[in-house]
Symmetry: C2
Subunit: 415 residues, 2 copies
C-alpha cells in the first residue's frame, strides 16, 4: 500500500472544508462552556445519508468518557453525525459517561436520527464536570443552522489554544465522477491549560466498502496524525474519525486492486498530511514547523520511528528554536529511538526555503559555514534530512520548536 | 533484594566524597579544553590497590568512543584509575577512538599502571575533535597532585552546565570494620549547549566479590540514576561506574545471604539516591526538584515506569513550574506510560514542606482549596503521590520543572 503515485493523480485543493463533499452539513456556535464568549465551543457535523465511518483513538490507558461512547456507537461501522465540544474534556469528571451519552441523545433527537449514529467528542480541561444542560439546550438551535457553509464555524468551535483554524478539502476524478474529501482538525490547547488533545474529522462523498475504509484510515493516520508531536504528551481525548457517504456515486471501491483505491488513498493522504502539518506548525508556543525526513532506510516503520524521535527531542526543539545547527542532538535522538542502525553511515543535512547544508557525513561532523546554517534555520519551516544509507524506504514526521511561550502557556493557573 | 532495612543500619553521612574510602586519591584541574578558564575540565581518580569495578553505560545506539574503550578495559572486572574530561564529549568526532585510547595510555603511563586498568569518560559537545595534546601534556601534572582531599576538584572538573558540584560519602560498620562509600556525579550540561550527559563515579573500600558487585550495581543504578529525567534525551556519553578496593578489610561479601550484603546495598542506595536527587534538582534551567512516588502497585517495575513517565511529562513539568495543581496531566502521563492499571482506583496528592493535599480520588477530581495547593507547590521540592490501590510495591522517580531558562540555555548557539 504505497503512495508513490501522488503526482500522477490530478488532486486539486478546493474550498469548503468538511462540507465540500456532497451531502455534508456543519455548524459551530458558542453555547456557554467557555468563559471567553469570543470563541465558539460546540460543533455539529451531519451527513444527509448514512456513512461508513472509521475512528482511531488515543492509546492512553486513561480515556475520556466520550471515547468509550463513540467506540460503542461506531462498532457497526456506521454514523450520520458528530457532536463535539471544546472547553471541557469530559475526562475523569463526575457523570462523564452519562453526560457523553446525553450529548449523543440530544443530537440524535434534534436531527431525527438514532443515537447510535452519533459520534461524540470533547476537548478541554480534565476532571471538571461537564455542563451538560447548556449543551442540551443549545443543540436544537445548532442543528437548525446546519449548512453547506458551516465548516469554518465547526473548525473554530473545536479549537482550544489553537491560534488559527485547520480545515482543508480536495477533489479528484474517479471513473468520470468527481469525488471530494474534506477535513478539520484541532491542535494542542486549553481554555484552562491542558493537554495537547488532537481531534480530526474527515468527510468524503466517496463510495467505498467499510472494511477497506478501516484499513486505509489506519494506514493514513499512522503516517500523518501519528507522525506529529508537540510535547510528547498523549492526551486522554485524541480522536481521528472519517465518515464517507458514497454520494459521489463512483463505482464502489471494494478491493485494494480497484483503480479508485490508489487515488482515494493519495487524496486522503494529502488532506491528512496538510492537517497534520498545520497541527505541528501551530503547536503551543511554536514559532516554526520542523519536519524530519529519514530516507534510504531498510524499512518505513523504522524511518518513521527515528523521524518521530528527532522531532520529539526537547533538546533538538530548543536548539532549532535558537537557530542552532546542533546536529549532535539530532544524531543522539535518532540513537535513543529504540531502532537499530549504523550511525557510522549516517549523513545529516538541514533544508529550508533559504537553502540546504550538510553538517554530518558518515556519523562524523563536517566543518560547515555556521552563518549559512543559521540563515537556513532562521525560517518558518525547517527540514532535517537523515540519510541512513541502508535501503530504499523513507518517512517524515512533523513537530515544532520549544519556546518560552510553551512554558508560559502551560505554567499558568488553570483558572 | 529489597531495601527495607535502611533505617536499622547506622549509616552516617561523612565528608571526603570519593576520597573518603581508604586508598582513593583524586585531582581536578583546568587543562585548556574549555574556553572558560574558571572551570576545571580534567579529573583523575586513583586507587592505591587494584579494584573490582562495574560500569553501566548509555543505551543510546550512538555511543561516544570513550564508552567503547572503557567497555574493553573493564571487561576483566578490574580497574585502578578513571580519567575524565569535560568540555568535549569525544562523540562522533574524528579520531575519537584513537584519542580515547591515548587518554587511557597517558594516565597509565603517569600512574605506572596498565592501560587496561584505566576507565575513560568524556562529556561536552558532540562532533568536535578532542584536543588530545592538551590532555596528554597535563596528565603528568594532574597525577602529581592526586590527594586524599581531591574529591571536590574532581567533582568540579566533570561539571558542564551544572550549577554546583555533586559529591557525597557515607560510612557504616561491618563485622567491626568501618566501611566507606563515596561518589561524585555531573548533570545536564554544556560548554556549548549539549545533551544532558550524566557521569557518576562511586568509590568504596568495601571487600566484595566482583560478581555480587555487578549485580548490586545494576540493581542500584536502575533505582536511582535510571529513575531521573531532565528532558527525556538519553545522551551518547552516560556512564555510571563503581570501584571497590577492599581496603576496609571486612570479611568478603560473596553471597546475597552474607550479613554485609544488605547494609552495603542500603548504604550504596543512600549514596546514589542522594546524587540522583541532586542531578534532578540541578537540571538545566530548573527551579525545583519534583519527585513522584507511586505506591500500592502490584509490582515495583510498574510503579517505577509510571513514576518516571510522570516526572518526564513536559506538560506536568511546565504546570508544576507555574505552581499549577493540574493533576489531570499527571493522571494522563501515568496513562500513556505503557503499563496497565485501573485509573478508576487512583488517588493523587501533592506533598511538600508546606503540607499535603489530595486532588483526585478514585480517578475523579476532588474539589480542593486552590490557594492551599499553590502554597504546597510553591516550594523548592514537591512530591507527587500516586496511590494505585492494587498491591504493596512502590517506586520513586525524580525530575525538575520545565522553564524558560531551559529553552534559553539550549536555544543559544554552540559557539
Amino acid at each position: 500500500m504505497k503512495v508513490n503515485k501522488l503526482e500522477k493523480f490530478n488532486i486539486k485543493k478546493i474550498d469548503g472544508g468538511i462540507c465540500a463533499p456532497v451531502g455534508f452539513l456543519a455548524a459551530g456556535i458558542y453555547c456557554g462552556l467557555r468563559k471567553n464568549k469570543e470563541k465558539k465551543d460546540l460543533a455539529l457535523i451531519y451527513s444527509e445519508t448514512v456513512c461508513n465511518a472509521a475512528a482511531l483513538y488515543t492509546s492512553n490507558k486513561v480515556k475520556a468518557d466520550p471515547i468509550y461512547v463513540t467506540m460503542d456507537h461506531i462498532k457497526d461501522g456506521n454514523a450520520k453525525a458528530v457532536i463535539v465540544n471544546s472547553g471541557n474534556a469530559n475526562a475523569c469528571a463526575p457523570k462523564g459517561k452519562e453526560n457523553a451519552i446525553r450529548m449523543a441523545e440530544s443530537a440524535a433527537k434534534a436531527l431525527g436520527i438514532e443515537k447510535k449514529d452519533v459520534i461524540v467528542a470533547s476537548t478541554g480541561v480534565i476532571g471538571v464536570p461537564l455542563d451538560i444542560e447548556v449543551i442540551e439546550s443549545n443543540i436544537p438551535m445548532l442543528s437548525n443552522i446546519l449548512s453547506r457553509k458551516g465548516s469554518s464555524d465547526a473548525a473554530e468551535a473545536i479549537m482550544t489554544t489553537d491560534t488559527y483554524k485547520k480545515e482543508t478539502a480536495v477533489s479528484f476524478e474517479l471513473h468520470g465522477k468527481e469525488v471530494k474529501i474534506g477535513g478539520i482538525s484541532k491542535g494542542s490547547g486549553m481554555i484552562h491549560p491542558n493537554m495537547g488533545t488532537t481531534l480530526s474529522f474527515i468527510t468524503s462523498d466517496v463510495n467505498i466498502d467499510g472494511a477497506i475504509l478501516d484499513k486505509i484510515w489506519r494506514y493514513c493516520v499512522d503516517r500523518t496524525f501519528n507522525r506529529i508531536s508537540i510535547d510528547g504528551d498523549t492526551s486522554t481525548n485524541d480522536m481521528a474519525c472519517i465518515m464517507v457517504n458514497g454520494l459521489a456515486n463512483n463505482p464502489m471501491i471494494s478491493d485494494e486492486s480497484d483503480e479508485g483505491y490508489e487515488v482515494f488513498l493519495a487524496a486522503l493522504m494529502k488532506v491528512c498530511t496538510h492537517l497534520a502539518r498545520e497541527l505541528a506548525r501551530d503547536g503551543e508556543g511554536s514559532t516554526r514547523l520542523i519536519s524530519c525526513t529519514v530516507y534510504n532506510a531498510s524499512d518505513e516503520d523504522k524511518a518513521g520511528i527515528i523521524a518521530k524521535s528527532v522531532i520529539s527531542s526537547s533538546l533538538t526543539k530548543a536548539a532549532l528554536h535558537g537557530g542552532d545547527a546542533n546536529w549532535g542532538r539530532i544524531l543522539c535522538s535518532a540513537g535513543y529511538s529504540g531502532v537499530d542502525f549504523d550511525y557510522r553511515k549516517v549523513d545529516i543535512a538541514f533544508r529550508s526555503a533559504k537553502g540546504e547544508i550538510m553538517v554530518c557525513k558518515n556519523g562524523r561532523g563536517l566543518l560547515f559555514d555556521e552563518n549559512q546554517a543559521s540563515l537556513i534555520l532562521s525560517t518558518e519551516e525547517t527540514c532535517v534530512l537523515i540519510n541512513l544509507k541502508e535501503g530504499n524506504e523513507s518517512a517524515t514526521a512533523w513537530g515544532c520548536d520549544l519556546t518560552c511561550e510553551y512554558v508560559n502557556i502551560n505554567g499558568s493557573y488553570r483558572s
